[in-house]
């Protein structure tokens, strides 16, 4: 593995979840042991009602420096811009021109919204569904009725592009779309980018929603997120978390406060079908090795749950194997059962909540955040309480 000296710390967190429109509210709600309110969507002709969690109170407007962009914003964009703006404020960078910093923007989403209702409105009354088969009919209707902005609200890359527009972030900018682990991957890639000296500050995270009509239709067709389902035993939800990752020296020089340090990351694509537990193990072993930790030293592992019973069983056994059963203090936590499945936002939400614990609770020192997609793609991120250079004692800085 690469030997590099650049340390990477987390200096800002922004978040929107079903339990809170910002990071402190979410943390407080979790500490009160609240769970997000679910609703059930019944579908005529289907025996499997869907479990859904929607964020209702969230007001995106206050987070948009240029409010006109709101008409181009899909749900993921609203969630991403809000989390990114709050993360920058939290990091104490809101008065700093990003153009003067070496920075990047990496936001993960798992799909893009077709905006079915807008498409249907554009087609208009069509009881026989001619639009589906008669293309001249379809094209006449859609060319007459579809708002020219539709494509721009649908294009997935606009999620990170809008973050750049709102924050005037001219650095490299990507939307990652690697299924449910896209947000975790954004954090991993951002970490490597700083570690290898390519940049100093990365806005990394995920913004996702699985509650649009088309999402619900697809999930229902495949029997996912249903009240009866064994396949995914979670509610489909929405949310976002964006972290400010920063070069340690850079952060120190500007007097930033740290949540924690990222020690390593391992990104293991889904191998052949059926070998999921080995992929999980591989990613955890790799972060332990690179962080120079032993399994039993890990205080806590958090998983962004797949919600799939088979995968989650594989998870539990892999954690046991990788971290050792001798550790009695090991905590295995997951937030998805209380927040719902936030897809590509789930990894970043979990990283952010772990970072918060590291900054506030002395009993946490070494933690691993693990995200798994339903295809078996496994990404682990190892985080540790920030230490002063060359000093094994804990950094006493805390977040209030």
């Amino acid at each position: 593995m690469t030997a590099t000296n650049t340390r990477v710390v987390i200096t800002g967190i922004g978040m929107v979840t079903p339990l809170g429109d910002n990071f402190p509210d979410t943390v407080a709600a979790l500490e009160r042991r609240e769970s997000a309110k679910e609703s059930v969507v019944s579908i005529e002709g289907s025996s499997q009602p869907l479990r859904v969690i929607q964020i209702e109170s969230f007001q995106p407007r206050q987070h948009f420096r240029v409010p006109k962009a709101l008409k181009l914003a899909n749900r993921r964009t609203e969630l991403a811009v809000a989390a990114a703006t709050m993360a920058i404020e939290n990091a104490g960078l809101s008065e700093t021109s990003l153009e003067g910093l070496r920075h990047e923007v990496l936001i993960g989403c798992s799909s893009s919204d077709l905006r079915i209702e807008e498409l249907a409105q554009a087609v208009g009354y069509d009881p026989d569904g001619k639009a589906a088969t008669n293309i001249p009919f379809f094209s006449q209707r859609i060319l007459d009725g579809l708002n020219p902005l539709w494509l721009l609200t649908h294009l997935p890359n606009m999620v990170s592009a809008h973050v750049a527009i709102q924050l005037e972030a001219t650095g490299p900018n990507s939307t990652l779309m690697t299924s449910g682990v896209a947000g975790q991957q954004a954090i991993g890639e951002g970490f490597r980018s700083i570690q290898s000296g390519e940049t100093d500050v990365v806005l990394a995270g995920g913004a996702d929603s699985g509650v649009s009509l088309f999402d619900i239709a697809c999930f229902a067709r495949d029997g996912l997120f249903s009240t009866q389902s064994d396949v995914i035993h979670l509610a489909a939800a929405e949310g976002s978390a964006v972290l400010v990752l920063e070069n340690y020296v850079h952060a120190k020089e500007r007097g930033a406060r740290f949540f924690c340090e990222i020690r390593s990351h391992a990104d293991c694509g889904p191998t052949a079908q059926g070998a999921i537990d080995s992929t999980i193990l591989r990613s955890i072993h790799a972060v332990l090795e690179e962080s120079d930790w032993r399994g039993h030293e890990v205080d806590c592992i958090s998983s962004a749950l797949s919600g799939n019973r088979d995968l989650d069983a594989a998870l539990a056994s892999a954690y046991e194997k990788a971290l050792g059963l001798q550790s009695e203090v090991l905590q295995h936590i997951e937030f998805d059962s209380r927040l719902g499945h936030t897809f590509a936002a789930s990894g970043p939400i979990s990283c952010a909540l772990l970072a918060d614990r590291l900054s506030r609770h002395r009993r946490f020192d070494k933690v691993v955040s693990h995200a798994l997609s339903y295809s078996g793609h496994s990404i682990s991120i190892a985080m540790q309480r920030t230490r002063k250079k060359g000093d094994a004692s804990l950094d006493s800085r805390t977040v209030t």
Binding site: K68, P148, L152
Partner: protein
């Protein structure tokens, strides 16, 4: 094409203003007939498409893309040479858009500046002629 246009009805003005307020995310009271869509209301190129789409819907008229060139047609070589508006062209523009605060533009006016001359009145006038001709047709 400079047929005299009857003073547009307050009702049309009001509906146009509402559309612009929604499309450009501005309070309606900030919008006046002489506001330039670009300079004063912050419109960018896709907003013109959006506004056009909303106008078609609101007034049930077909609007060709030419609405944005219409009164500002500078295709004649006397008015514009190689992307630069000639002094003759400038005279024409000033007479077409007397309300525009001309001191905003430098000495040289280029093709790319032309859309800046589009004001709320440009839109209102266009809609008035369209809806007029439509009602004539119906008669």
């Amino acid at each position: 094409m400079q047929a005299s246009i009857a003073e547009p009805s307050p009702e049309v003005i009001d509906r146009v203003k509402k559309i612009l307020a929604a499309a450009l995310d501005r309070p309606a009271e900030e919008i006046s007939l002489s506001s330039s869509l670009i300079d004063d209301l912050g419109a960018e190129s896709i907003d013109f498409l959006d506004i056009q789409f909303r106008l078609e819907d609101e007034f049930s008229v077909e609007i060709e893309d030419e609405i944005w060139k219409g009164s500002l047609d500078m295709s004649d070589r006397r008015w514009m040479i190689e992307d630069r508006v000639t002094s003759e062209g400038l005279k024409r523009l000033r007479s077409l858009q007397p309300e525009y605060p001309w001191d905003r533009l430098g000495k040289e006016v280029r093709g790319a500046d032309l859309p800046r001359l589009i004001t709320v009145r440009t839109v209102v006038n266009f809609i008035s002629t369209q809806t007029d001709s439509q009602s004539e047709n119906k008669d």
